[in-house]
């Protein structure tokens, strides 16, 4: 474990009108990793970024930077730089002066400023754009200038506030690769705010899933995808079939009136739970061989897969991803492995959840 660079301890943010944007957030950010704060709008993720950058103060709690409390430190004295949502490039300055802004304030020698600015522009693949006006740039180019302007100061942490949301799909995907690559090359800690789960899953070392001013779950993308802690996370990250169920015993769960073998345990006997099955984990087979039987209701071609909605005998909807099409109205069987079933308890805290998982993985 590398040393933490930023720690948030019990951060609460309450506005004058009483609205609580963040409640008791604890977060540890390690050096050189790519973090994402993922959540719907209004979940408080941008507020966390603003507190780290120093644009707003936490009502309660501590912000530590390399172990030092920085709650009262003004933004210009913090070793973090921000890439703003709408880039916030200075319209009265050209590309060079925008990128040179921080270095000029530090009163660096002219030659050094020039070299570092041109290097930074090269790094974001905009060489030769130094003398352009901001208004002459496309959205993607402005985005790159904003990144160059931030990283040229060699911050220890780079904060990115939904920097890709204004770009079109194709450009966004390209930028995801570039950002990830940039982060690995520079070794700077990135804290990336997004509401796009695909973006977070693709780029991050670690994701914090947020809702209503709270961190619901944190972990690697694979952990969060495979073991969502609750209904909200399961629904927000990827697509899922979520059904009410009952825990009959360890490794034995009941849903849609049938008992299935599963990989989870550590719950009370007959405890009511929720069961998650990812659509891509459901395999289609003939009706007599399936663990479940559903009737195909609708089918959409999504390019790389077919999205099939089937109804079982009880009227539950099942979302299935398949590479091959099925016939509409036909009865099909669904199979899945015990590990594909993920069981979620109601109201479980993240710490308890992690402890339980660890215990049952060791077995």
């Amino acid at each position: 474990m590398t040393k933490p660079i930023i720690e948030l301890k019990g951060i609460t943010k309450q506005y004058d009108d009483g609205f609580v944007a963040l409640s008791k957030i604890n977060m540890t950010i390690e050096q050189g990793k790519f973090y994402s704060l993922l959540g719907p709008s209004g979940s408080g993720k941008t507020t966390i970024l603003r507190i780290i950058a120093g644009f707003t103060n936490a009502t309660e709690g501590q912000v530590l930077f390399s172990g030092q409390q920085i709650n009262q430190l003004p933004p210009n004295q913090r070793k973090v730089n921000t890439v703003f949502q709408n880039y916030a490039l200075f319209p009265h300055l050209d590309v060079f002066d925008n990128v040179a802004f921080g270095l000029t304030l530090q009163k660096r020698p002219k030659q050094e400023v020039k070299k570092r600015v041109l290097d930074a522009l090269k790094l974001v693949q905009l060489p030769g754009y130094a003398n352009r006006e901001i208004s002459e740039l496309s959205g993607g180019q402005q985005q790159r200038v904003a990144i160059a302007r931030a990283i040229v100061n060699e911050p220890e942490v780079l904060l990115l506030d939904e920097p890709l949301s204004a770009l079109d799909m194709k450009l966004r995907q390209d930028m995801q690769y570039e950002l990830r690559e940039l982060q690995q090359r520079l070794g700077i800690t990135f804290i990336f705010v997004t509401h796009d789960q695909e973006e977070a899953l693709a780029m991050s070392d670690e994701i914090f899933v947020m809702d209503n001013g709270k961190v619901l779950q944190s972990g690697t993308p694979v952990d969060i995808y495979d073991e969502p802690i609750n209904h909200f996370v399961a629904n927000f990250i990827g697509e899922s079939n979520i059904l009410p169920g009952k825990m009959l015993a360890d490794y034995q769960v009941e849903f849609v009136g049938k008992s299935f073998e599963c990989a989870d345990g550590g719950m009370r006997v007959n405890e009511a739970v929720e069961v998650v099955l990812r659509p891509e984990d459901l395999d289609i087979t003939t009706a007599d061989q399936g663990k479940l039987v559903v009737k195909v209701d609708t089918q959409l071609f999504r390019g790389d897969h077919f999205e099939i909605i089937g109804l079982d005998a009880d009227g539950n909807e099942w979302l299935i991803h398949s590479t091959n099409p099925v016939r509409d109205g036909k009865e099909i069987g669904l199979t899945f492995e015990p590990e594909d079933i993920h069981v979620m308890r109601f109201g479980e805290k993240e710490a308890d959840f992690d402890a339980r998982l660890e215990q049952y993985e060791e077995d």
């Binding site: 703003f84 200075f90 319209p91």
Partner: protein
């Protein structure tokens, strides 16, 4: 569709023709004629050769400049603070309110305040400095003129500050700028359009102030505005009055052009870009 649009423009064009273009042409015509209606450039020669008129012109420019500077110094901080207040609409209303009151009434109110037996002198006597001659001084003229012009400076600056994306000052702070550096390098340059609009709205009318020069300045301050009034109403030399009017209009155009350079520059940059591409 097009025709009906043009039809609705008729009142506007009539108005402009009758009350803007025609008077301007009349002034121009008057300035080039003598008392008998013959063409002459004598008025312009007189203006150019007389030190009195030169002094008046410089006086006008100087006082307009002073009024603009004072107004700007008061208005920018005021607009800046205003943009951070809670009940902005109310404060704005309070600032706009005095402009609804007739200029003459405000001038007379100040005469009352500044006169020998006025409230200000009472106060000065109370703290042991007074009474002083306040009325009919440069000081009182500049003070009242600035007071009257301030709303016209605050409003455009306030609008420019409100329209400024708050992320921009934040970005500046984020990149290491202190609050003052942020103001100097980001906030002020980006609200300069409002300052320019304000300067236009104050400087240009201030060039031709004449009522205040008389009522508050006590004719100690003679500007081109006073001269025009004098020529038209007292000496009845309409030709000379019109000449000064023309010169005043030319001055205004020059100021407009000086404060409007931004768009033009921008286009030149684009043109350069095109030729290099």
């Amino acid at each position: 569709m097009k025709k009906s649009k043009q039809f609705f423009m008729v009142p506007y064009f009539l108005w402009i023709a009758l009350f803007v273009v025609a008077p301007l042409l009349l002034i121009l015509y008057q300035s080039f004629t003598d008392g008998q209606g013959h063409f002459t450039v004598r008025n312009y020669l007189t203006y150019g050769s007389s030190s009195v008129y030169l002094k008046m012109s410089l006086n006008s420019l100087w006082y307009a400049f002073l009024i603009t500077v004072i107004t700007l110094l008061v208005s920018y901080p005021a607009a800046y603070i205003l943009s951070r207040l809670k009940h902005q609409q109310l404060w704005l209303l309070l600032i706009i309110l005095p402009t609804w009151i007739n200029l003459l009434l405000k001038a007379y109110a100040f005469i009352g305040l500044f006169s020998r037996a006025g409230a200000v002198n009472h106060f000065l006597m109370f703290i042991g400095i007074g009474p002083k001659q306040i009325l009919f001084s440069d000081f009182s003229f500049l003070l009242v003129a600035s007071y009257i012009e301030i709303p016209f400076m605050i409003l455009p600056i306030y609008n420019a500050i409100v329209q400024l994306d708050p992320a921009l000052p934040n970005a500046s702070r984020d990149l290491g700028a202190s609050p003052w550096q942020t103001f100097r390098l980001v906030t002020f340059p980006l609200t300069l359009s409002g300052v320019k609009a304000g300067v236009q709205a104050v400087f240009i009318p201030s060039l031709s102030l004449f009522m205040l020069t008389r009522l508050i300045g006590g004719n100690r301050v003679i500007t081109l505005g006073t001269a025009i009034e004098e020529h038209f109403l007292t000496t009845m030399n309409w030709g000379m009055g019109s000449t000064i009017g023309v010169i005043l209009i030319v001055m205004m155009f020059v100021i407009m052009m000086l404060t409007n350079d931004r768009k033009k520059k921008r286009r030149e940059v684009l043109d350069d870009e095109k030729t290099t591409l």
